[in-house]
Symmetry: C2
Subunit: 441 residues, 2 copies
């Protein structure tokens, strides 16, 4: 078969090398290796490592690998996957494979847990938590806790914190394994650290990210409505959530609907699709700006010089607006702001806008005098519009995210192209009205 291309020495060498690699790197390689090499790697990899690498693969490659594996190897793989990894896998595989796995390779106990986990919505806490943790009763002795640790089949990295519950399994605290070892004469209760924060499985994963960021938690416990521990989210997984959520925010701000995972490999059509929606919306709302300019066409015809400052005014407004919205979104995220601070934000942004606006107007006034030798009336028109633009854009940029938050829309979605459109429209209106007044047209 295919293996004939390698002699025993070569295979030994490959085996030694790949079993020293990190699962993430192995997965990266498996994504690009030719079919026959993939088959060899799978044979040569330790089972644990194969399972770890498998969970890192993209959906289509998971299916490909399952198809290569023997029934026996699939059984091993399924057994080596943690429940949460198993659930992720089941959600990614084609329905027929999923069914087969559930029926043949998952025993009744696990099927129950798996089915529960499958029930949590995407991006919920339940969908990212692990159910692999060790809990003991707070009345247990340190000795019996250590016995449970010795008997536990969990990976050692899941045993850093041992969770304490009361008789009815309600979460009370946790102990560090090192503290148990160092203080075997103390009771678990004495060694217990208190719980800073818990989350429930139906909350958005962002909640975990915010709590971990605020309190620097090593693990966030997930509890049910009776406060019984049902899962945990370790800090290393929270890193992914923080990263993905902020990435999503950035995409929203620039109007990308669904950032694809891989840029170079994804087809241009697919990427174009994620970007087109917002561009179309902006195009259509630009009917407003077009309409305004049309209305003031006679004004513009008699003072064409005014046109020259439209781009500058629009850009200044747009930039000023996104600055405000970015700051407010940041503060919303860290919990410093909420919608009840609406008027504080208005006041704050108005005063920031006034300060910034005055500085910009001074610089711009000089620029227009020297470079453009603009008429004083034109210069005044531009100056007044500029300061009103900056103040107005800052205030709009500040309150739009708050309104979005109140409406349960992601504030970043509002912060993006929408602000530009709103600001543009108003800037032009202000500009032409001021011009009509000052230039007397």
């Amino acid at each position: 078969m295919t293996e004939k291309n390698y002699n025993v020495d070569q295979l030994n060498k490959i085996q030694e090398t790949i079993n020293k690699m990190d699962p993430v790197d192995i997965a990266d390689k498996l994504e690009i290796l030719p079919e026959k090499d993939v088959a060899i790697w799978i044979k040569l990899l330790n089972k644990d490592l194969l399972a770890d690498a498998f969970t890192e693969l993209r959906a289509e490659n998971k299916a490909r690998i399952v198809n290569i594996l023997s029934e026996e190897s699939i059984k091993d793989l399924v057994r080596d996957l943690d429940e949460d990894e198993l659930v992720d896998t089941l959600q990614e595989l084609p329905a027929n494979i999923t069914k087969k796995l559930m029926d043949t390779h998952i025993d009744d106990n696990r099927r129950k847990v798996v089915n529960e986990l499958l029930g949590y919505p995407q991006e919920s806490v339940g969908s990212i938590m692990t159910v692999n943790f060790l809990s003991v009763k707070e009345t247990d002795s340190p000795k019996s806790a250590l016995d449970k640790i010795m008997a536990s089949k969990l990976d050692a990295e899941k045993l850093e914190q041992i969770w304490l519950t009361d008789q009815s399994l309600v979460l009370i605290g946790f102990v560090y394994i090192a503290d148990i070892i160092r203080n075997q004469n103390k009771s678990l209760k004495e060694l217990a650290k208190s719980i800073t924060a818990t989350v429930t499985p139906y909350e958005d994963q962002e909640v975990v990210a915010k709590l971990s960021y605020r309190y620097d938690l090593g693990e966030v416990p997930v509890v049910d409505s009776e406060n019984r521990l049902i899962g945990i989210v370790p800090a290393e997984d929270v890193i992914d959530v923080v990263h993905d959520e902020l990435q999503e925010d950035m995409s929203n701000i620039t109007g990308i609907s669904d950032q694809s995972e891989s840029y170079l490999e994804e087809s241009s059509f697919k990427i174009a699709k994620t970007r087109t929606t917002w561009l179309i919306i902006c195009l259509l709302t630009a009917t407003m700006t077009g309409f305004i300019i049309h209305r003031y066409e006679s004004l513009l015809a008699s003072a064409v010089a005014l046109t020259a400052y439209i781009p500058m005014l629009m850009d200044s407004g747009g930039n000023a607006g996104s600055q405000a919205s970015t700051t407010v979104i940041t503060s919303l995220y860290s919990g410093e702001l909420s919608v009840k601070d609406f008027f504080k934000v208005v006041a704050k942004e108005a005063s920031i806008g006034l300060i910034t606006g005055i500085i910009l107007v001074i610089i711009n006034f000089i620029r227009l005098m020297i470079l453009d030798q603009a008429q004083i009336r034109v210069n005044l028109t531009v100056s007044i519009t500029l300061i009103l633009t900056i103040i107005f854009s800052k205030v709009m940029g500040g309150i739009l995210p708050l309104i979005a938050d109140k409406l349960d829309v992601d504030p970043t979605v509002m912060a993006g192209p929408l602000i530009t459109t709103v600001v543009d429209t108003l800037v032009l209106l202000i500009y032409f009205e001021v011009a009509s007044l000052l230039l007397g047209i």
Copy 2:
């Protein structure tokens, strides 16, 4: 003194309550409590908890608290702070207090470590790592490793991973404490996990964030040039780095030079200062767009209708450009892209731009025909400009971050206001040139 306002019962109750709080919440309260209550809290808080809360305070409040504390309490506080926390504190306190602390309260051993840590630049790995870790020789027996754990004075959370070195202290691997307990008959070498990645103290903290994100590391080891372990960065601290770095990216994109920590409390002047620089730069570069419009004034005068489409074209270009740059920045961050993919990015964005552009042109053509009943030549001018704008903006948005990365400038700085300016200028040039050709003016 001030304490007279409370009776013993009340004080007991306060003591009980605050000693159950999380240090972060305590710090939040200390920031806003009146002076006399702060003094009471400090007296009533457990020393460990006070030290933990102290590290969470803002600089000015740290100084305030140090001034309230007795010499004895300062000594306790300094002793209870980890070296990295101590260094952060020293950097934040006024020079005279820092000197006093260093001279009076820090012994020679610690002073050496502290001085080393003080030497690492801001936002470097060295500035965020902790030097509190436990390492043992790989040749040690599990029993002797456990003895070292029992004897260790480190907080239990620092003892989750025990690091293994060879005789010359070179980092070789690590063991989980749970694995030592469960396998006391195996050698540490057999229990060892291999090191996926290491960092050096002078690298940017972003490197730690990227590695942790990619490999889901619980702790990232920091080594010197000889590969000897000198510190670690735990995942819960990496969360802060990931958060802060992405936040910084978002601020950069909208042209905020230095996002302040607290929005509502910070003065409007300070916030205005962080936002003004980029607005001024944009204002000045807008001289370009103004200049171009001036040059084509006669063209505009004879076809004022053209002006109506300038905002739409500029916004479409700006949005299309930021979409591309956000995607490329994301892929740079995850390591998928580098500057060597320059031409791949150009090709990719050109084809995405072509697809998106065609869709937008069709929609826009119909819109202009129906809503504006625009002349066919004007419509054609706008359509041709629009598709060229989209393609051009996408390509520029794609390559500017790559160029920035190559030049060791933060790509997000390039992605912000700068793209808008570059795109605006080119859009206008294209527009007027196409108009001159088609309208024959």
